[in-house]
């Protein structure tokens, strides 16, 4: 038996885990919302569950003046508020906080990087982190090239060919560019200093349990995969609905808008996962390769008939769950005449054998009636509908994959109402993750940070994916920017978006009521 075992005599092949190397994570923009709400709670939960490497440290890098002790206290408050494990286990926190530091500097000041380098060297010897680095860029996107250039200048990112014994990885938050040109420019700038293997473009949707389950659902249940094509599927709807407004992100939102913030990254990734062919294996490259094929097969939006294929909207004042809320233009740091969209809906076609003729309807909006993200597969009607009454057909079968909240899968089927007549009623077979697997799954950021530490980029976007997505959407962005909307705000907060969004449909299709 020993001869066929791996070299480590104590390692059982079926139990081998991803190896997570010792490392230091440096968070740029550490005083921002993302660090407090997501990154530190994720690191704390990983520490709590013994998933962090034993030799680990974390450094927050930001411009505000504060000490490591102040930073720790602020992060403790944040973890208390935002962690999925509450209340904070103080003993575990204290052990974690010993490895948490703050480094103050402007992003463009060389002294800041020089002293960061000295700090990291010191932490290496203190915590045994062996020179391995993760740099998490949670800054405004305009700083990405500058920070990466400085990291390179001060030897903080390594040449993958010259220093194979240690590694450096850079996690880049969305958006990766503002359009195709800027994304290409950004890619050109960062690839001067980084190998593609070192770049982790994060899209937290891909870390969500239900999104990962999409692959399992599609490729381990043959009954669905065999009808997953244009012969049986009428159309697909993907919805990302938020009841919240833009909150304190007014300034950022004014530069981004819904198409850049949600559609270009999250929604296009969901389209890929729904539409991709089975990969040859589960390795990162195999999955990326299938996703890029989908993106390249999406038909460009027809600019001559845009209103039938792309709709934008902006919310005005209204009511959400009985509470009056202000319109987008009344939000803080927003231009009172803003033309930025808070709603976007698209009709896309994928021109390949599997999906030819099947419309993919995408909608994403702020201040819609409820928070819900789902993918709905609407199947074609039976060829002959025997149970038609008064010309009314039955409901189409619909498979719904709910991503948030109440993650789960449901299938709507038609059923006979008991009795002498042949009345038909749609019913739902419903699977809720929470009902079967009561434990709260790890947060998306926990999974993604862990993957980055172990060098697995399967759940991160590859450069060509980001470019293909921008290539598709940039003409639309340019058109929308050049032709200011005349009807904004065109939907009231608390409604399902602008009326014009219904015009994307023909043949009696309509948006699902969530």
């Amino acid at each position: 038996m020993l001869s066929s075992s791996p070299a480590n005599p104590l390692e059982e092949p079926s139990r081998s885990k991803k190896s997570i190397d010792p490392c230091i994570m440096v968070i740029f923009g550490a005083t921002g919302d993302l660090t407090a709400r997501k990154l530190l709670p994720a690191l704390y939960n990983l520490a709590l569950e013994g998933q962090l490497p034993s030799h680990f440290a974390c450094v927050g890098f930001a411009r505000r003046e504060k000490t490591s002790e102040m930073f720790r206290q602020e992060m403790l408050d944040a973890v208390n508020q935002f962690s999925r494990n509450k209340p904070v286990d103080l003993e575990a926190w204290n052990a974690f906080a010993e490895k948490l530091f703050y480094h103050r500097s402007e992003f463009d000041k060389e002294e800041g990087y020089k002293s960061l380098s000295e700090l990291l060297t010191k932490l290496d010897s203190q915590f045994g982190t062996k020179g391995n680095r993760i740099f998490y860029l949670s800054t405004q996107p305009s700083y990405f090239p500058l920070v990466i250039e400085k990291l390179h200048q001060f030897g903080l990112v390594y040449d993958v060919n010259q220093e194979p014994q240690k590694w450096s990885r850079v996690i880049i938050e969305k958006p990766f560019g503002r359009d195709l040109t800027s994304a290409q420019q950004l890619q050109a700038e960062i690839s001067q200093h980084l190998d593609e293997k070192q770049i982790y473009r994060i899209d937290h949707y891909l870390g969500k349990e239900t999104v990962q389950n999409l692959l399992v659902f599609r490729f381990s249940n043959s009954i669905f995969e065999s009808i997953w094509n244009n012969r049986y599927i009428d159309h697909i709807q993907i919805t990302v609905s938020e009841d919240q407004g833009i909150g304190t992100r007014g300034r950022l939102w004014e530069e981004a808008g819904m198409l850049r913030d949600i559609v270009q990254n999250h929604m296009m990734q969901l389209v890929c996962l729904v539409a991709m062919e089975p990969p040859i294996n589960l390795k990162a490259d195999a999955i990326h390769t299938e996703k890029i094929k989908v993106l390249k097969a999406i038909r460009p939006l027809p600019m001559d008939s845009l209103p039938q294929n792309a709709i934008r909207g902006q919310y005005g004042p209204g009511c959400i769950q009985g509470k009056e809320v202000s319109g987008y233009r009344q939000e803080a740091n927003v231009d009172p005449n803003s033309k930025i969209e808070t709603y976007a809906a698209l009709k896309l076609f994928i021109d390949n054998w599997r999906w030819m003729g099947v419309p993919f309807y995408l909608r994403a909006g702020k201040r819609l009636p409820k928070r819900a993200t789902e993918i709905a597969i609407i199947f074609k009607d039976a060829p002959v509908y025997l149970f038609q009454k008064n010309g009314v057909k039955g409901e189409p079968n619909t498979l719904t994959i709910r991503i948030q909240p109440d993650e789960g899968i449901s299938l709507k089927i038609n059923c006979k109402i008991p009795g002498l007549s042949n009345l038909v009623q749609p019913v739902k077979m419903d699977f809720q993750y929470g009902s079967y697997f009561g434990a709260l799954p790890p947060e998306a950021y926990e999974r993604l940070l862990c993957d980055c530490m172990s060098g697995d980029n399967t759940l991160f976007a590859r450069a060509d994916e980001a470019m293909a997505s921008w290539e598709l959407l940039t003409p639309l962005l340019e058109r929308w920017e050049s032709e200011a909307p005349v009807d904004f705000p065109n939907y009231a907060a608390g409604t399902w978006g602008p009326k014009a969004a219904e015009e994307l449909f023909d043949d009696g299709r309509h948006w699902r009521l969530l």
Binding site: P9, E12, G434, S435, G438, L440
Partner: protein
């Protein structure tokens, strides 16, 4: 069957379950079931332990429970059946809504046990996995196990219940080769965290050399009166190391409460000491620490930090003392980690070889300790 579960007639089981489900729905409980779990407790003293295991399972995975309680010491013949609703965990993100599960409880004297399979089989939930949780050596049971075995997706058994561990190891080796179903030995599962930790601790070629030069290992475990063989997990862990490192069993000795197991290796003798401690923090039989020494004087002290699901490691050589560090040591006695170990892991070649190794030990000396 618990004293508060009222007895019902056997033909009414399904009807009573439906009635309970309706009552649960009225209370806004959600019904869910991932599998059928059939539990068999042969001795009354094991019931509480197995019930705790069931609670641990229900906490994470809703299922239909069929709890069979035999009483080998019964002084009269009886066969009692009852049904009840058990509450599994809360539905996450659903404002405290709870999940209810069916439980069928069967209690019988030995003379009536032959009827039990006919009560169990109609109530197995179709299309879902069937797990048998056997509170004794399943292969030593001729009343129920042979009838349910063909329906089972997996048998989870508690080797600690065996009267004679040596005999159990020998029987299990034979049956492992014959059985087609998946098996889980709870005690093997409960040392999986220590096996993973040691594999990580000795994960580099330099460290594999150290493994060849081991001189002594002290395994400290929590000894309480709740278990018949409280040292069983320590025995599994040392047996696994011995089999992986190709040691040859020499003898077992006892000094007061400490058991010493000696092995030959190609280079030098190795002595493993099983040393009891008493801890209110740890479950009975759980391993609390390891002390590993090599012939070159390298020493590893590995101590469990139970609350943190980590172990802290102090390593030293005659020349230097390394900074202490931690490695993950998940709590496999509860939660999802426990579920993964008992319901999803495959008993591989390491287990088989471990049984071979520990079946050579003279348990009479150990069990007197």
């Amino acid at each position: 069957m618990t004293s508060e579960t009222p007895e019902i007639k056997i033909p009414n089981i399904e009807k009573e379950l439906v009635s309970l489900s309706e009552q649960a729905l009225d209370k806004k409980f959600v019904k869910a079931c991932l599998f059928t779990l059939v539990i068999y407790a042969r001795e009354p003293r094991r019931v509480q332990y197995l019930q705790e295991l069931v609670n641990t399972i229900l906490d994470k995975f809703p299922c239909r429970i069929i709890f069979i309680q035999a009483d080998v010491h019964a002084d009269h013949e009886y066969l009692h059946v009852g049904v009840s609703n058990l509450i599994s965990g809360q539905i996450s993100g659903s404002a405290g809504a709870k999940i209810s599960c069916d439980q069928i409880s069967i209690a019988a004297s030995p003379e009536q046990m032959f009827r039990v399979p006919s009560i169990v089989i109609p109530h197995i939930v179709t299309d879902l996995p069937v797990y048998l949780l056997w509170g004794q050596n399943p292969f030593a049971d001729s009343d129920i196990f042979p009838f349910l075995q063909s329906f089972a997706s997996r048998v989870v058994f508690d080797s600690e219940c065996s009267e004679n561990l040596k005999l159990f190891c020998q029987e299990m080796q034979v049956n492992l080769n014959k059985l087609k179903m998946e098996l889980t030995d709870i005690n093997w599962a409960l040392v999986s965290n220590w096996r993973d930790l040691l594999a990580q601790l000795f994960s580099t070629p330099e460290k594999w050399d150290e493994l060849k030069n081991l001189k002594s290992i002290v395994i400290t475990y929590n000894r309480t009166n709740a278990l018949k063989h409280p040292q069983i997990r320590a025995i599994y862990l040392q047996g696994w190391l011995a089999s992986r490192l190709k040691w040859r069993y020499r003898q077992v000795d006892r000094f007061d409460s400490e058991v010493l197991i000696s092995y030959y290796t190609d280079r030098n003798p190795v002595i493993v000491a099983l040393s009891p401690c008493q801890s209110s923090e740890l479950p009975s039989g759980a391993i609390s620490s390891l002390e590993i020494t090599t012939t070159q004087g390298t020493h590893y002290s590995v101590a469990r930090r139970h609350q943190h699901q980590q172990a802290i490691i102090h390593a030293s050589t005659p020349e230097r003392c390394e900074l202490s560090y931690t490695l993950p040591l998940p709590n496999v006695h509860r939660g999802l980690a426990f579920m993964k170990e008992i319901f999803y892991r495959h008993l591989g070649g390491h287990y088989h070889e471990t049984l071979q190794m520990i079946s050579q030990i003279d348990y009479k000396i150990i069990s007197d300790a």
